[in-house]
């Protein structure tokens, strides 16, 4: 039987990207600024990580307006949710495996 670390997702494995995906996992959609504050990174750092997550088809970025103010919404795609669930399962397996 292979070690659960082989099940870890290469894209989500980065701590910052894991935080972003985790934040989005409980939401249908979340505002860019809220995710930035939650993950405690800068606008540019979040944008950079979002490009990687978008390229992996894990995150969808939608631009819109609330009144006259422009807003950017982030949401996890179905592929992203599956990858996150698999990654979490691998992390739990690693955490549990070493307990035995």
């Amino acid at each position: 039987m292979s070690h659960p670390r082989h099940e870890l997702d290469d894209v989500i494995h980065s701590p910052v990207r894991l935080s972003i995906v985790a934040a989005l996992a409980v939401a249908d959609k979340a505002e860019f600024a809220l995710v930035r504050d939650t993950v405690e990174i800068t606008d540019s750092a979040l944008s950079k990580q979002l490009v990687i997550l978008e390229q992996a088809h894990y995150v969808k970025v939608t631009k819109g307006h609330v009144g006259k103010r422009p807003r950017t919404w982030l949401s996890l795609t179905r592929v992203g949710r599956r990858a996150y669930a698999k990654h979490l399962a691998a992390l739990r397996a690693i955490a549990g495996q070493d307990l035995q």
Partner: protein
């Protein structure tokens, strides 16, 4: 990756999720306010004569519109909220129509019917508020 790293990653993910979930608590307030408004309006409808029942609609309608605008302005929408909200609104609408039907059939001015009916109509909103509160 070892056990300590995995536990740290899981803990971090859990913390981020809790932070976002805290910002997604706004439906609890909306549904609770709507439940109270429903109680007042449904009881009033049972006693107000003729044209004054329109006052009840005049109270509910702006609230429903405000709810839509308010929801659109929020920074986060919790996972699956739209479906849960539609179910709550759908059940509320069916119960409201049933209550109106009973009111017309039995006649206005019945205190027991007014109180029991308004509580029944408000129940899906209270349940919705509790469910949203537990999720966040």
């Amino acid at each position: 990756m070892d056990r300590a790293n995995a536990l740290a990653a899981l803990d971090d993910a859990e913390r981020r999720q809790r932070t976002i979930a805290r910002h997604a608590r706004w439906p609890v307030v909306v549904l609770a306010v709507w439940a109270v408004l429903t109680l007042v309006v449904e009881i009033a409808t049972a006693f107000l004569p003729g044209i004054w029942t329109l006052l009840a609609v005049a109270l509910i309608l702006p609230f429903v519109i405000w709810t839509a605008v308010h929801a659109n302005r929020q920074r986060v929408t919790s996972r699956g909220f739209a479906v849960r909200y539609m179910i709550v609104v759908g059940v509320w609408a069916v119960l409201h129509m049933a209550y109106m039907f009973v009111l017309v059939s039995v006649g206005k001015g019945n205190v027991l019917l007014a109180v029991a009916g308004s509580v029944v109509v408000a129940t899906p909103l209270v349940v919705g508020a509790v469910v949203e509160g537990r999720r966040s």
